[in-house]
């Protein structure tokens, strides 16, 4: 396949970026999107040019480190997929593809397509855990969790922290990410004890960082690779109001 690319190149956080055009002639439809970028980078390196910096690691859809805007869509056109699991068979011969970094004030650009998502770690650090020290735990079966509770908690816990929800949100809100963790832990008996403090601290931290507010457009759910539901956001609001009362 022949593919035309317009890729965001930006030297540093504070420099001005621009879209640069490239083309590739030998794209195999079985390649992953990142393997296509590898191919381009090899070409650039051989020409003595600086390869495109992009984030990636596991390349099996679970680490959450990859993620770019592809034709304006976080992680590209395929539903519920990370960029590494998008394959070139999703594009046609002769297509032009725009590749840009995730854009949000809270995710400063490091270089090219690489962004700094450490704000997500800061939200977790505010309270996204059960406060249990190593060695304190009781016998596991003494904490009963029904099948449905566990499954429901898992649905929220499955978030990979890729940041697509923020990137796709017109307000760059982190509500889906934050609420997924709040819900995961609030749905389980072991997480309920400190649910109030957790929710207040995590929501406050989220607001202190440069994320926007949630206005319920639900775009986050549409582009989430893990199909994290916006019902988590409703849950977060419920937990927050309950804690404030």
């Amino acid at each position: 396949m022949k593919i035309y690319l317009k890729v965001w190149r930006q030297q540093h956080k504070d420099s001005k970026g621009m879209l640069v055009e490239y083309s590739l002639n030998e794209v195999d439809p079985e390649m992953s999107f990142l393997e296509m970028l590898d191919m381009l980078n090899l070409k650039l390196a051989k020409k003595g040019e600086r390869p495109i910096e992009f984030d990636h690691d596991c390349r099996e859809g679970i680490c959450g480190q990859c993620g770019v805007m592809i034709n304006g869509i976080a992680h590209g056109p395929l539903k519920n997929t990370t960029t590494c699991q998008l394959h070139m068979r999703s594009f046609k011969n002769g297509d032009t593809i725009y590749i840009e970094p995730f854009k949000a004030k809270a995710f400063p650009i490091i270089r090219d397509l690489k962004v700094d998502r450490s704000a997500f770690d800061a939200i977790i650090a505010a309270g996204g855990y059960v406060s249990v020290n190593t060695g304190q735990a009781p016998e596991a079966n003494s904490i009963m969790v029904t099948h449905d509770e566990a499954e429901s908690a898992f649905d929220s816990a499955a978030c990979i922290g890729c940041g697509a929800c923020v990137a796709t949100c017109k307000n760059a809100s982190a509500a889906l990410f934050t609420s997924a963790k709040i819900s995961h832990l609030a749905k389980l008996p072991q997480g309920q004890k400190e649910s109030e403090q957790r929710t207040l601290k995590m929501v406050d931290r989220m607001e202190d960082l440069d994320f926007g507010h949630c206005t319920n457009t639900e775009a986050c759910e549409v582009e989430c690779p893990q199909e994290i539901s916006v019902l988590n956001i409703a849950r977060m609001n419920y937990e927050y109001n309950k804690a404030k009362l």
Binding site: A45, K46, Q65, V132, A157
Partner: protein, 640 residues
């Protein structure tokens, strides 16, 4: 001169050793703990759990990872489950049985005392993870559920859908972030370790490169813990994350830490086959799929029919045929090697004829699609995303690929390397798995090392360091290490050849797959060593790294890792060559039974090889730790 080395195993009965150790280990009082600093490199299950646990105790921890967030460590990708002895299923499990399964699975090439301790501590891990909120699979009643896994006949594997590693890691990561917030952990993400710094023979710090700026930094502590995972990525195509590497342990090896059993890399039987030359990695499908999937190939060579058109009597369910009592759940080395036999015999399927079928039609007929979907739904989805094929309708195609490193830094019972003050935990050490890791034991070992062993053994070491002042990073040892690291990076950039690190890596990987992969021979290994030496020579002259040292530069990061792989690869081959027997992941063609099974030689090879760096990668010294089987008599491993 080769020497025999001792593992400092505590005396006493097998089931008393760890209890006795803990009872006698030295303690550090809480007011002294805050004066002591610990560096932990790596934030996977071993690193994050150790960092969090040590910080909870009151030590000051510096935690490093090369990813943008500690949550991305590759433990996140482990799918199938984690073993633990709870005997919840009342099917005859016990610590002793789990110990035997692990020892036997490792083909009697692991240390009895460590393996027993792994089984002993396993139950506590499940308690810990549940308390953290890990949403393990549950029965409707609320009790924890289990499934069975390759190599065992009981159900002792706990799982969180097909994302067990992710959920366990998030638990450990959250514990780590909790301590970061409190200030007991200082987090350095996007940092890569370039060298280990020794002062008076003890590990006292590391040199790192900040990957966002290229800045080279010095970090000191009272000791260093390496939790940097496995090096299966040396094969280029592997199930590991792109960034997984051997550099931290290799550079520690060059500073005096012994490297144990480097040739034992587990080749996983259930990964997706390679589809083309551009491929950068192979994706693993959880081994748990073998619980319900049946593995087969067509009976005739080059059968071009689609799998659903091949009638039952023209299929060879070769694992069930060859290993009736374990069938599709035969251990990984056996399942992988059997797949290779079929592929080599021309019965491989798929466009490149490099795969075998993993078929769920029988399970769907027996339990219904819903049940299968609930058990493995995410894996079926993943399979469809990658291959475009719906595995509910036709069998999956799977193929063996490089996966878990049983080898790694040699450690004693305390998980301390041959360098005082340098600990290695999780997959970065060689520890508990012997020649072949039993499925669902990797998450367990990483967690147990980090949560339950390192906190005791590290404290035992630190008790003698309470009067040692903070490490001075202006010490000449730091200056020298930093200078050497810088010179090496400059050399890469200034080489200005025309082959990228990745191209070298692909070549190296192919040599290893062909000659030091699923099967090895004396002739092949000798050829590999020669080719690797030539490739290493070319690397020095012809490397192409665009960009600068003092800047963001992914190509430079790769160059350093591949440089280390070039040296390690030769050691892997040397190790494989020196072991004139077949065991576990190591199948030497010259040593097999009449039926083509691995032929172990306990009389001469019941030892852990612990290689010593001499300054010349082609002339390592082989030291041996004799494996003494005090409580179990090694038997021929049979899964028939």
């Amino acid at each position: 001169m080769a020497k025999t080395i001792k593992a400092n195993i505590p005396a006493g009965e097998l089931n008393q050793k760890w209890e006795n150790y803990k009872a006698q280990a030295k303690l550090v009082s809480p007011n002294n703990r805050k004066k002591l600093e610990v560096i932990v490199v790596g934030t996977g299950l071993a690193g994050a759990s150790a960092a969090a646990s040590l910080a909870e105790m009151g030590y000051n921890v510096k935690s490093f990872c090369f990813q943008d967030s500690p949550r991305r460590a590759h433990s996140v990708a482990a799918q199938g489950g984690v073993n633990a002895m709870k005997n919840y299923q009342n099917d005859g499990d016990s610590i002793h049985r789990m110990f035997i399964d692990t020892l036997k699975g490792g083909d009697f090439r692991s240390r009895e005392a460590n393996t027993y301790r792994l089984a002993e501590c396993s139950a506590s891990l499940i308690d810990q993870a549940v308390a953290q909120g890990v949403p393990f699979g549950r029965e409707y009643s609320g009790y924890l559920k289990n499934r069975s896994f390759g190599g065992v006949q009981v159900s002792r594997t706990f799982y969180a859908r097909g994302q067990t590693g992710q959920q366990l890691l998030l638990g450990a990561y959250q514990a780590l972030m909790r301590q970061t917030e409190i200030g007991k952990i200082k987090l350095y993400s996007r940092h890569e370790m370039l060298d280990l710094v020794l002062i008076d023979g003890k590990a006292k710090g590391i040199i790192t490169r900040h990957l966002d700026t290229g800045k080279i930094e010095r970090h000191g502590a009272h000791l260093v813990v390496l939790a940097t995972g496995g090096f299966g990525k040396i094969y280029y195509l592997s199930t590991l994350a792109m960034g997984c590497n051997a550099s931290a342990i290799w550079r520690a090896h060059k500073k005096g830490a012994y490297m144990a059993n480097p040739s034992w890399t587990q080749i996983h039987p259930t990964s997706l086959p390679q589809s083309g030359p551009y491929q950068s990695k192979l994706t693993l499908m959880s081994e748990s799929l073998r619980n319900d999937g049946r593995i087969w190939v067509p009976k005739t060579k080059n059968d071009q029919r689609s799998p659903n058109q091949i009638p039952e009597n023209e299929r060879d369910y070769y694992l069930e045929r060859k290993y009736p009592s374990f069938g599709n759940l035969a251990p990984r080395d056996i399942a992988s090697r059997s797949a290779k036999e079929q592929i080599d015999a021309g019965k491989g399927v798929g466009p490149l004829q490099n795969a075998v079928y993993l078929d769920f039609a029988h399970a769907i007929a027996e339990y219904g699609k819903n049940v299968i979907e609930q058990r493995y739904g995410n894996l079926f989805k993943m399979y469809q995303k990658i291959t475009g094929i719906n595995a509910y309708q036709e069998p999956m195609k799977i193929s063996p690929s490089a996966h878990f490193s049983m080898g790694g830094l040699w450690v004693d019972y305390d998980l301390m390397t041959s360098i005082p003050g340098l600990f290695a935990i999780g997959e970065s050490n060689f520890s508990d798995h012997g020649a072949n890791r039993l499925g669902a034991n990797s998450l367990l070992q990483a967690c147990v090392d980090g949560y339950y062993i390192a906190p005791y053994t590290i404290q035992n070491y630190l008790a003698d360091e309470i009067n040692t002042p903070k490490t001075n990073v202006n010490h000449p040892a730091f200056e020298k290490a930093e200078l050497n690291a810088r010179l090496q990076l400059e050399q890469f950039v200034n080489c200005k050849g025309d082959k990228t690190a990745e191209e070298f890596h692909k070549e190296l990987g192919k040599i290893l797959y062909d000659k030091c992969g699923l099967s090895r021979s004396e002739v092949g290994l000798k050829q590999a060593i020669e080719t690797i030496q030539e490739l290493r020579g070319e690397f020095k002259k012809n490397l192409l790294v665009p960009g600068d040292v003092d800047d963001i530069n992914s190509e430079l990061e790769k160059a350093g890792r591949v440089y280390d792989y070039m040296e390690l690869a030769e050691l892997m081959c040397q190790d494989a060559l020196s072991r004139e027997e077949s065991c576990g992941a190591h199948f030497r063609e010259e040593y097999q039974t009449k039926d083509g099974e691995a032929l172990r030689n306990d009389d001469n090879y019941a030892y852990t090889s612990a290689w010593e760096w001499t300054g010349n990668p082609s002339k390592p010294i082989l030291n041996k730790e004799e494996l003494i089987f005090e409580f179990v008599k090694p038997t021929q491993r049979s899964y028939k």
